[in-house]
């Protein structure tokens, strides 16, 4: 795993990584969020369990995304972690049993209160529906990623 952006004062970070399956990806990203202090120790297992019960893969087009998240009790400070996968990994589709999607970009969310997160969530979903934007993100362009994530958490 390689850190692309990570500044503790910004409430976001970005990593590029690879893994065999969704659990490996989620585990690595959860660990980096824990190291940065955004989430507590329980977050790692909680986010994996949560993805099993309520998958978050979104078939958004050429580049598919996932937005893993779990309950507020595991969150210290709200944050977003962007994960860019070296090669796509299979995730289950949100709300669709037995459907899978090959995901290339993840936004792992540490959410505390829904009232405070509405702006972030709306902008995030708009980003997920914007293939051009996702292509820029996937290319790993550090400056652009910084802009996009900065706008999300603003």
């Amino acid at each position: 795993m390689k850190k692309i952006i990570g500044k503790a004062d910004k409430n976001y970070l970005a990593v590029s990584l690879s893994g065999e399956n969704d659990k490996e990806i989620l585990g690595q990203m959860a660990d980096v969020m824990f190291q940065e202090g955004y989430v507590n120790e329980g977050f790692h297992n909680a986010i994996i369990r949560r993805e099993e019960n309520f998958p978050t893969g979104l078939p958004t087009g050429e580049i598919n995304v996932a937005i893993p998240h779990t309950d507020p009790e595991y969150v210290n400070r709200p944050a977003v972690c962007l994960g860019i996968l070296d090669s796509p990994v299979k995730f289950n589709v949100m709300g669709m049993e037995n459907e899978t999607v090959l995901v290339s970009v993840l936004f792992m969310l540490a959410i505390k209160k829904k009232e405070d997160q509405l702006g972030l969530l709306q902008k995030l979903i708009a980003t997920c529906q914007d293939q051009e934007m996702l292509k820029v993100i996937q290319s790993g362009d550090k400056k652009k990623i910084d802009e996009v994530l900065g706008e999300l958490v603003k």
Binding site: P59, G61, T70, D71, M94, M96, Q129
Partner: protein, 94 residues
Amino acid sequence: MKRILIACGSGVCTSTVANQKISDFLNENGYEGQYKMEQCKVTEIVAKSENFDFCISTTAAPAGAKCPVLAGLPLLTGMGMEKLYQDILEQMKK
């Protein structure tokens, strides 16, 4: 007054987005003030459903709901949105 239940896994994340998008859509279509929405966890749908006219869930809903349940995935992917909006309007006209 239509009562609409919006559900996701935790009741705080994707249901919040769904709530906002559906409110905007209903208001644009002249339904402002004619509906009430509540967010909940998907595991609460069955118990709560008898007090609602219909439900929109972004995660797979358990069987046994006492009101119609629409799949909210299009609100998040942008794919199939028109069909979902038509289904919502149909529920509003009932």
